[in-house]
Each structure stands twice: as C-alpha cells, then as structure tokens.
Symmetry: C2
Subunit: 371 residues, 2 copies
Amino acid sequence: MKKADLIVAASANSADMLYACGFVAPDPFIYFSGAGETGIILSALEQDRAEKDCRPEVAVYGRDEFSVDEKAKSIDLILALAQKYDFTGFRVPGDFPLKLADELRAAGMTVTAEKEQFFPRRQFKSRQEVEAITDALRVTETSMRRAINIIGEASIGADGALLWNGGILTSELLRSEINIEIIRNGGMPDHTIVAGGCQGAEPHNVGNGILYAGQSIIIDIFPRMSSTGYWGDLTRTLVKGNAPDILKKAFAAVLEARERAKELIRPGAIPAEVHKFANEILARHGFLTGRQDGRNFGFFHGLGHGVGLEIHEAPRLSPVNHEPLKGGEVVTVEPGLYYPEWGGVRLEDMVAVCSGGCNCLTEIETVLEID
Amino acid sequence: MKKADLIVAASANSADMLYACGFVAPDPFIYFSGAGETGIILSALEQDRAEKDCRPEVAVYGRDEFSVDEKAKSIDLILALAQKYDFTGFRVPGDFPLKLADELRAAGMTVTAEKEQFFPRRQFKSRQEVEAITDALRVTETSMRRAINIIGEASIGADGALLWNGGILTSELLRSEINIEIIRNGGMPDHTIVAGGCQGAEPHNVGNGILYAGQSIIIDIFPRMSSTGYWGDLTRTLVKGNAPDILKKAFAAVLEARERAKELIRPGAIPAEVHKFANEILARHGFLTGRQDGRNFGFFHGLGHGVGLEIHEAPRLSPVNHEPLKGGEVVTVEPGLYYPEWGGVRLEDMVAVCSGGCNCLTEIETVLEID
C-alpha cells in the first residue's frame, strides 16, 4: 500500500505544478512523488527542454518510458507508473480533473483530493521567493509610473476629456501603454484595470472609454514575470487636476484604513480582525457598506490576499479567515470604497509578514491628484 | 430525477465557461443549465458587471440568493441550487474539480464527468466566431510584420550578430517588440516563440539570446483577443540574409507539406491521414523522423489543432485522430522539421473547413530570407 502525490496539469496554468517542478510548460503533464522518487512524465516535444530547466531533484521521463503506444493517455501512463513503483493510491490537488480521477478509481486506485492546499508551504515564502515577488512589484511600479506620467502629460479638453499624444486618452489607450511597459520589463500583463468615473464603483470592471479630469481613475496592475512565474499587485486611484471633495474624503479614509491595517499585520494577527478593523476605520469616516436597489456599495471585498505563483492565493485577509498569520506570507492590503453615484477609491500595497510585524514591499508613493 | 449541466470555473481560464455565459471573469463562479433554466451564480463583486455582459439567455444570481451565509462555499450554493430546482445529479466537464465532485457525491448527488467535449458544438464555428478568430489572426499577422520589418532593418555585425536600434537584437527584444504590437492592437500575447539557430530544434523553446544572420529564426505568435477571448496562431521561419542550403531544402519541404495538406482538408477528411500525407511529403524530400541519443528529430508533433476560445482545442490533426472532419472547424496546418544539428523550420497557417474544402484564413506571405 504505497501512496504518492500526483498532479496532472500544465505548469503554465497550475501554480502547484510550477512549484513542484520549476519548469514552465503550456500543455498538461504528469508529476508524481512517492516511494523516494519524484519525477515528471511528459511528451517528446517537451522532454529535452524539461531536462535542462526542471528542478534538479525532479527526474524527467518521456511518455515512451511508460508506454510505447503513442495513443497512450494520462490514465495509461499513470497506471504504468503505479505498477512500476507499486503505488496503490494518490493524493491529488482539490482541482484535479474529475474524469481522470474516476478512471483511476475504476482501475482500483484510491484517489484522495486534498481538502486544503496541496503544498501548504507555498504560502510561506523563501527569501528567493520574496525577491522574485519584489522584482515583479518593481515592474508593476514602473508601469504605474508610466500611467502617472501620461496623466501628468495629458491636457484637458473643453468637455474635460483628457488629451494625450494628439488624441483622446481612453481607458483602452492608457491600459495599452501600461501593458507595453510591463512587456518591456519582462512581465506579462493580466486584466489591467483602468476604470474612470462611475466604472470604478465595480471593483472588477476593467474600464473603457474616455477619461476625464476631476474624476477618479482606478488603476490596478497585476503582471506576472515570464521568467519566474511570480506576480506583483498594485492599485492607485488618481485624479487629473482637482479632485471633488467626496473623492478627497474617500481617499483619506482608504489611506488611513490601509496604513493602520498594515500596523496590525504580524505573526499571530487574525485576518478577519484586520479586515474588520479596516472596515471600522472606513465607517468612522462616514463610509458605510450595504446593498441598495440591487447594487453593492461601500467596502464589499476582502482586505487583501496572498500573492506568489498565483495572483490570488492563501492567506486571504477576509472577514471569514480566522487562521492566524504565521510569518513568511506575502499579502496585499487593499481597502476600497465603491459608490455607484461617484465611482471608487482603492489603494493597494503589498507586505511580507515578518517577525513582529510586516515589511511593506511597495515603494511607489500614494497620491490622488496629478497636475 | 432531474439532471443539470454544471460548471464551476473562472471564465477567464475556462473556455467552456466563457462559451456558456459569454462573460469574462477572473474568479471561479457557478454555471448551471437544467429544468428549463440556465443561470450563473457569482459574488456581489461581479454581479453588476455580469448583469450587463452575460448572454441574454443566462440568468444572473448573486450568491446571497442561494445562501445568506457569507462563508458559503461552492458546495453549499450548489446544494441550495439543487434543492430549488429539484436537481439530483449533474453532468460536468472532464476537468471539473475532484474535491467539489466528491463533496457533491457525499451529499447524495450523482456527478458524471463528460468523457468527451462538454459542448461538442464548440468545435464548429459560427460565422461570428470565424470573424472573431480572423480578427485575432489579423492582429497576429500585424505583429509578425513588425518582426519581419525589424529583421529587415537590422544590420549584421562582424560576428554575424544582428544589430538593431543601436544594440544587439536578441530573441527577448524581438519577442518584446512583437508582444507590444499585439498589445497595441487589443490582444494579449502568450508564450511568443522567437527561437534562433539550434533552439528551433525544440518546438516549445521560446528562445533566448543573440540572433544571427544565416540562421533560422522560428517565430510562433498566438495572441488572445481581450475583447472576445478568441485566439490567432501563426508561425513563420525567417533567415536574415542568405539561408544555408539545408534550411532552403527544409523550407521547401515544409511549405509543400503545408500547401498540399491544405488541399486535403475538407468535410470527410480523416485528420490522421492528412497528418500521414504531410509526413510522407517531408520524407520524400529526404527528411526522416526518429529518435537518436535521447533526442527527437524530424516531424514529431501533430500537423495542427483546432483554435477557438482555446489555443489548442478539438479537432487535432494528429496521427491518432481518425474522426472525420465535418465542416465548420477552424484548424492550424503547421508541419515542421527539427534537427538538433541545425535547428528547425515550421510554417503555420489557419484554415476554416467549409463545403468541399477549406478557406485559408491566413493572408501574410510565406518567405524564408529577409534582406
């Protein structure tokens, strides 16, 4: 009765797979670890590259070492693997594909989906991992500076529309310039948010159309570094020219919530309590949370989330996470306020939880108005 | 005994989910269809946006309509859904997460993983889908032209290295310029390949380091359009200056294989036979396939693959696919030759299978040498 860990996924999409083997591949392959042996099984197409790039402790096998049949599917290869090492069961990640699990069970294997994280140590970052995340964050900041510079360079048209580089400045154009800066610096953009005015009231609205002076522009940038697979995450809320009073008040509230929440983040802190504390600060500034006419308003997402090989990973700084921080986590701190009538404000930094507190990894300043 | 279709996934990552609801979201949510009702269930964070962007036939529900408990997990929501509509079982995609499936089964539900495609009609494209794919391909071609222009503008240094824009032209720089062109045109690059010289012998090597005159440069570009989620796919093999004879011969063989394979593609054609036919043309030109000293050489990947909301989807034009084409599929045709001693040649077009044959969607020319 020997059990092994088993993952079947593309490491380009699966953080667990990338963490396990350190090798980026766009198509699914097999990882196993058990009976003193750790290895991957993949197609001839990837074998040469894997042998160079894989973690040294992970053995690389071609599919043909487990089946000479070129039609062999994952199930065939895994059963051949089980036979070779006498495996009778597998521990697999919670997102393991059901079809393959059912095939393995039908062949007499036990397959146990991990209920928690497959590699719990993934949320506690090594020094090298914090460096890789910091590198990603620096690229994120460089692209935010590009956005700030463009808004600074923009002039204001008769109707308040921002004008830049001989044309109208839209969310699409500013996003494109941000994403280009990310690409130039070795990152890959994801759904970069540039949400102007009332679009900012929807936290996941990526934004479109003309940007105007005197309205909030929420810019949320989260690129992944192509070389390491680690992510950065950064949000600022900017106004070209003078911000209306409501925006200044919301900005002050969110900034205070972010800074004071950071002061609470340390080993032993309870994420739900930190979230609640931030929410109380916002309420004390007069910004309440609720739902009206079918729309949410106020602060209706979690305060933050872990960042690593996934953009959203454990631990969540959410009202339902009562598991104390332990030290070594890298998390975002990103309170926000959202009101359909005027838009939103979100300010996001990243911190590494360390002995007695946390280190803020984010260096870029937090400003509202851009001249 | 009522059964429903069920998907739990992020539509940004799951082509089935995007196909089902037409709404791009970065975090997992629930889709169901059964008992005359089709809907999605998602967090407050996404609800407003979903109500605007979702397909009109898909109803949008907030999580709070199925559970007032803010800690409610997918399992809780799905069980509440099952109770509301009297569902006792679900058909789910093959990649449905095992942990959730086991939870549903433990609660008495039947969960059946689809062994084939969840939406078989996804491989037969509507006119609108072919247009969306063609739009993506045009952006792909625009970025390929950028690469061709840069190689054309480059001069040749004393050691044969390409010089461009005051510096050395590397794979990384050329990839960055290609990816920037994609971003400027509304697409999102994936792992764009710019593989020079012997790196081209590994089909998935993205390439790195200095590019040289007189060596093959394989450029494989496959961006996804941010607005629609559809992909384009294009490969060319280029040489700055004069190509060595072996490259000219391989180019002629691959080009003939591609063009003659296209002539066979039509409703009723067997993918495995088209692949075999292309392989025979390559062999007739003297390019054999095999494995030596632990490395593959020749033509060792499939001739092509379907393209749509996934970059690799059904049908595969592979030696193991004996299912006849039916018409409406959009597939790549991309024979290649790879030899560790000198590198590789791959030439890829996209075609739409139509009545009596196929339409080539790719317009950009196929050339080897760039002055």
